[in-house]
């Protein structure tokens, strides 16, 4: 009897791997609120104390740090998971919200909404996130129209070239809109473009969370399909994957989570490109692990980066995008070297 086994994924390995990433996130999110420019006393913060308004510790913890940490976790999860999915669908490990023009599209959408002074809500989403999502989708539609030639697959390097071009174009359009804005709007726009996680209250969090969770759920549902699509459109078709549906749902979900987050935080680079790579080096390329692990690792990564951003040069803050690059780059090289 052949007893030799071979590497494969099963429920036990899945729970162990995804569970570990979840535990890391839990630990990071438990530790991060206690770190900051002002020391807070947790016991005092949690005690009923003299009433919430006078309880400085509770104020810092609940009104400043926690919402910001939740925002960082949501943003990190969204950017990382959409990076992983873009890479799979485009079969290119350089695909990310930035290299595909999605960040640029989202930025332009948001900036136009700010400039035009749109102020409405649709299905619970306010105008800026909505415009941002539409911008992300528009960018993807333009980039994909380059690659849609009937019956033939263009090399995915064309897509990236198109994506980078679109991103530059949208960045210029953002500058143009900014140029024609009054000083108040311009300040709002520049502030937004710098990116940041400190703009949040709980109400904003509650509008970002549902689209992010919905998008992540769709991507987890598509995970095994993504394995096959990442190996080629035609061979995926031959294995019974409805490729057009997977591409459409996958790109919609990835744009939804990116748009929802970028609209509020502004563009934060590097997370979508680097987190999927790091996670892939740890758990392998199977998207059933890669997608949920990227969610938790991306969240942990950005919470850590933001903690560093607000404490390293305290009381001054460093833009979180600078930290993601400084931390992410060397770590990535180290993993790459160790693996090969």
């Amino acid at each position: 009897m052949e007893t030799r086994t071979f590497p494969h994924l099963n429920r036990k390995r899945y729970i162990a791997a995804v569970g570990s990433f979840f535990l890391v996130l839990t630990a990071v999110m438990a530790a991060a609120p206690l770190i900051g420019s002002t020391r807070i006393d947790l016991a005092k913060a949690l005690s009923g104390g003299p009433g919430f308004a006078e309880n400085v510790d509770a104020n810092i913890l609940f009104l400043i740090r926690l919402p910001r940490i939740f925002m960082a976790a949501l943003a990190g999860a969204a950017l990382a998971v959409s990076g992983a999915v873009f890479q799979a669908i485009l079969r290119n490990d350089l695909a990310a919200p930035i290299t595909l023009g999605v960040s640029g599209g989202a930025s332009l959408g948001a900036v136009i909404a700010i400039r035009a002074g749109f102020n409405f809500t649709f299905m619970g989403f306010s105008s800026v996130p909505l415009a941002s999502f539409l911008g992300a989708l528009g960018a993807l539609a333009i980039v994909f129209s380059f690659a849609r030639m009937r019956g033939r697959e263009l090399p995915t390097s064309y897509l990236l070239l198109a994506g980078v071009t679109v991103n530059f174009f949208f960045a210029s359009m953002v500058m143009l809109v900014n140029y024609f804005s009054n000083i108040t709007q311009s300040f709002q726009i520049v502030r937004w473009l710098m990116g940041g996680l400190d703009i949040t209250d709980y109400k904003t969090l509650l509008t970002i969370a549902p689209p992010v969770f919905l998008g992540i759920a769709v991507l987890i549902y598509l995970a095994r399909d993504l394995n096959l699509v990442s190996g080629g459109v035609e061979s995926a078709l031959a294995r019974g994957v409805d490729v057009a549906r997977v591409q459409l749902l996958g790109l919609l979900a990835a744009s939804l989570v990116t748009g929802a987050v970028v609209a509020n935080t502004g563009p934060i680079g590097f997370v979508g490109l680097i987190v999927p790579h790091i996670v892939r080096l740890i758990v392998g390329p199977d998207h059933r692990l890669l997608v949920p692990a990227s969610v938790f690792f991306g969240a942990s990564f950005l919470v850590l980066c933001d903690t560093a951003a607000r404490t390293l040069l305290a009381p001054t803050e460093i833009p979180v995008g600078v930290i993601t690059a400084i931390l992410g780059g060397p770590f990535f090289f180290w993993l790459l070297r160790r693996k090969h």
Partner: protein
């Protein structure tokens, strides 16, 4: 059912048409690739798709695998138009193996083979014991089990081809389509691949359709060949009948000499310089 009628129904199945291609036409953008293609594929046979570069061989195999849909005409599997079949259902009956296997991400050999079980699994399910058994069997048959743990991108071209065949076997298909399975392989690897395919054809009565450039190998291996030129069928016959001097000279536009191997009746074709 008594023994005699059971036997006759088996014989009926044996002669049954597995795939029917009727007046199929296909064009990329405005460039016609296939026109007026009609033939049928019978259960258990090995069909060679033969022709010069650009004659439409790969496109024909893609039409047969439902990867592409014909612009006009039809491709039917067991009497059902491919367009009316669900992709998952089709993948349980027909498998298709491309010529090249670019893989961006570092999947292991075993993971690639298990992907053949995709059409049998619901979206949330993991592969189960049955899937592992089938995948292991496919890897044993293709002698790929010994490097199941290696990265797909770390193995040789011939090994990759065998792994892809293992994945296709894991689909448990009735028809396997292969685009140039022996191209760019040396003689030893070519023979390994053809041996595996012959075994599958005998043991599982798997019907095979493959494009192949080497006419000598084709005449040894195929029961029947379809000769294509400029997207049209020039000849649909046994290799002995199809590989005639005049026919080949028309199809390939070179002068040829034909030698017969009297041991197995295969033909050797030598172009004249």
């Amino acid at each position: 059912m008594n023994a005699a009628s059971a036997e006759s129904s088996v014989r009926d199945t044996a002669a049954r048409t597995l795939m029917q291609i009727s007046d199929a036409t296909f064009a990329y953008a405005t460039q016609p690739v296939l026109s007026g293609i009609s033939f049928e594929l019978r259960t258990g046979e090995i069909l060679g798709v033969i022709g010069p570069n650009g004659s439409g061989k790969s496109t024909l195999l893609k039409l047969m695998g439902g990867i592409l849909a014909p612009d006009s005409g039809s491709v039917a599997f067991k009497g059902k138009d491919l367009g009316s079949l669900k992709r998952r259902a089709l993948a349980r009956s027909v498998s298709w193996i491309p010529q090249e296997h670019p893989m961006v991400f570092p999947f292991k050999v075993s993971e690639i083979v298990l992907m053949g079980r995709h059409p049998y699994l619901s979206p949330w399910a993991f592969e189960g014991e049955e899937d592992f058994r089938i995948a292991r069997q496919a890897m044993e048959l293709t002698e790929t089990l010994q490097f199941a743990e290696r990265g797909f991108n770390e193995i040789s071209g011939g090994e990759k081809q065998r792994v892809m065949i293992a994945g296709a076997i894991a689909q448990e298909p009735e028809l396997m389509l292969l685009d140039e399975p022996t191209a760019s392989l040396d003689m030893k690897y070519q023979m390994e691949i053809l041996d595996i395919l012959k075994k599958l054809n005998h043991a599982k009565r798997l019907t095979l359709a493959l494009s192949i450039h080497d006419l000598h190998l084709a005449s040894k291996f195929c029961d029947r060949v379809v000769l294509l030129k400029n997207g049209r069928i020039v000849k649909d016959a046994s290799p002995e009948e199809a590989f005639q001097k005049e026919i080949l000279e028309t199809v390939y536009e070179v002068k040829v000499k034909i030698f017969r191997d009297h041991d197995d009746g295969s033909v050797l074709i030598s172009p004249e310089l």
